[in-house]
């Protein structure tokens, strides 16, 4: 504890310099926090993921269709416990800019597989029983003020109906919540049958088929069996884990992960150089004081610890401030209705916070290492000859 006071005395030597260093670290971790939260919200927006779920898509590209018949054939593959399928709908509400993350699904199996979407059982049953039903996420429902039982015109920018229009009247029969805060509730689901019977082209095809394997350890074997079954057919398949598929889906929207790595990596290295350099300078200025402390009987190790303590404290103080503001900012952003669909799931998760604290510790230790080494090497006699 007495060392803490010496650490503070060291930092208090040049308050302006200490303040600027804290500020630099603060900015770096603010950026990191916001970007990492944004990335995790994208991952959630792509859909929940579970360890024993697989996604079967067309080998060419996941935007290419698969024959509907594949779903029942996959059901018979060894190791497959459950199957569902879905089709991208390209939905919007009234105007194109009111984009909706909309999927046409097989309602019974889909709601069984995706237990992350929770709703009262009677709502689920009503949704399954009526062909013109939609199930909407809480976020979307609140954004547009939708109520259960309300009829809405759901438009598609892809699927033209046989009558030539693009408007699909539907009735809201279920509003789902997420099982936990990580589950995005920004999607709209309608019946696949309703779409398939009404659309003017693309009939009897689906976008992707979802598989639940009997056990996660079976994933690779099941994926191989499925892909082997459709090898050399007109529509070859590629079966991926749900996580891998979601990651690929996000890649379509620019590689956010790489951007985060680039931006925070550059910030981290810059801060490392700034803090490391400033601390090395600070220790050089304090050579005389360090020599006095050694004369009084402080060991080199203890002095080294104090120096590392200073950089650690700097990094943690600035870093936690930055992370705190990032948390505040993401809460505000995700609370704005117009942005909700994209930033709805945006928040500082425990994993983000944990990795940020890890980076702070790394920053503290790395920037403290060389100054501490220099401080430990200060030769008392030589230092006194200089002063």
């Amino acid at each position: 504890m007495s060392d803490l006071r010496l650490i503070l005395a060291g930092l208090g030597r040049k308050p302006l310099r200490t303040g600027l260093l804290v500020f630099a670290i603060f900015i770096a971790f603010l950026i990191y926090g916001v970007l990492a939260a944004f990335q995790s919200s994208l991952e959630n927006a792509a859909g929940p993921s579970s360890s024993n779920r697989l996604v079967v898509a067309n080998r060419i590209n996941f935007t290419q269709p698969l024959p509907l018949a594949y779903a029942s054939r996959i059901q018979n593959v060894e190791g497959v416990a459950d199957v569902s399928y879905s089709n991208w709908f390209g939905g919007y509400y009234r105007e194109q800019r009111n984009f909706l993350l909309t999927f046409a699904i097989e309602p019974e199996s889909y709601t069984r597989i995706y237990s992350e979407y929770v709703m009262p059982e009677e709502q689920r049953q009503a949704f399954i029983a009526n062909r013109d039903s939609v199930m909407v996420g809480r976020t979307v429902a609140e954004q547009y003020g939708w109520k259960l039982g309300q009829q809405i015109p759901l438009s598609s920018n892809i699927w033209r109906r046989r009558d030539g229009t693009f408007v699909w009247p539907v009735v809201i029969r279920a509003i789902y919540d997420g099982k936990d805060a990580n589950t995005s509730t920004g999607s709209v689901f309608l019946h696949y049958e309703y779409l398939d019977e009404g659309r003017s082209f693309g009939n009897d095809t689906v976008g992707i088929v979802q598989i639940v394997t009997s056990d996660a350890s079976q994933n690779d074997a099941v994926a191989a069996r499925v892909d082997a079954q459709f090898a050399n057919s007109r529509a070859e398949t590629e079966t991926l884990s749900e996580q891998a598929f979601n990651a690929a889906f996000i890649d379509q929207q620019g590689n956010i992960g790489l951007i985060i790595l680039g931006v925070t990596g550059a910030a981290f290295v810059t801060i490392l150089l700034i803090v490391g350099n400033a601390m090395a300078g600070a220790i050089r200025e304090r050579t005389g004081e360090i020599a006095v402390m050694k004369t009084l009987g402080f060991t080199s190790n203890r002095i080294g610890r104090i120096v590392v303590g200073e950089t650690l404290l700097l990094a943690l103080f600035g870093g936690l401030l930055g992370l705190g503001l990032a948390n505040l900012l993401t809460n505000v952003l995700s609370g704005i209705p117009a942005l909700n669909q994209f930033f709805g799931g945006m928040r500082i998760t425990p994993q983000i916070a944990l990795s940020a604290v890890g980076f702070m510790a790394a920053l503290g230790f790395i920037t403290g290492a060389i100054p501490a080494f220099n401080a430990m090497r200060v030769n008392v006699i030589a230092a006194f000859r200089r002063i």
Binding site: V292, T295, G297, I387
Partner: protein, 229 residues
């Protein structure tokens, strides 16, 4: 040697290497300082006074010979053992005070106590006493910048005595002070020696300052010449 000898130097040699050449400061120095002594060390510049003080304080090691402190050789101790030994036995006073600029007088005085196992309240008491001894208890919260040179040196003296060391080493403690202030500091050292029984070795260039000691040692060309005051 007798039981009351605090320091015994035996056949001390010290040479510095500067590249190829080696400079011999002393080749065979012998000295005994009894407990309770107050020695003024004088001698021309470059004669090795600071070097000797560094050897006595365990900051430097002799090239050969032995230094007994309380009967035990210190030149064999490791770096960290020497640190602990210094903390327990030696108080240092410097020409330029060498206080920590960001710390108050009280914090500066407390510094050596951070190396002990004393509780914060005990430390506080000791600091107060030490500042009272040097007559600065009313300046405890002042930073070094807010104190005069003489006051800073008194804080440094308080720091040197707070852990109750046996030996006080002072390298030109009045070298940066005017006559009157210097006299105050020297009277204080005399008081520490006479009243508290501290053994003091003080390096000085000033014959008037040396008069405050019990005896003077003149170091020249590697040997001592003694004069009683």
């Amino acid at each position: 040697m007798s039981d009351s000898d605090l320091i015994v130097l035996r056949n001390i040699a010290k040479t510095y290497r500067r590249g190829e050449e080696s400079i011999s400061i002393f080749s065979d120095l012998n000295l005994t300082i009894p407990s309770g002594d107050f020695v003024a060390m004088m001698g021309p510049s470059g004669s090795g006074k600071t070097t000797l003080l560094n050897l006595l304080g365990g900051l430097d090691r002799p090239t050969s010979g032995t230094i007994l402190f309380d009967g035990a050789p210190i030149e064999k101790l490791s770096e960290s053992q020497l640190s602990a030994w210094r903390a327990a036995n030696i108080g240092f006073i410097f020409q330029f005070y060498n206080l920590m600029p960001t710390m108050s007088a009280a914090r500066n005085v407390e510094l050596p106590l951070l190396l002990t196992s004393l509780s914060p309240s005990e430390r506080k008491k000791r600091v107060k006493t030490a500042l009272e001894v040097v007559g600065l208890d009313n300046r405890a919260g002042h930073k070094p910048k807010e104190l005069s040179g003489g006051q800073q040196q008194r804080v440094a003296i308080a720091r040197a005595i707070v852990a109750d060391p046996k030996l006080i080493l002072a390298d030109e403690p009045t070298g940066d002070l005017d006559r009157t202030t210097a006299a105050e500091i020297l009277e204080m050292l005399q008081l520490l020696n006479r009243e508290l029984g501290k053994t003091i070795v003080m390096v000085t260039h000033d014959p008037a300052a040396a008069k405050y000691a019990r005896r003077e040692l003149h170091l020249d060309k590697g040997t001592f010449e003694e004069r009683l005051t």
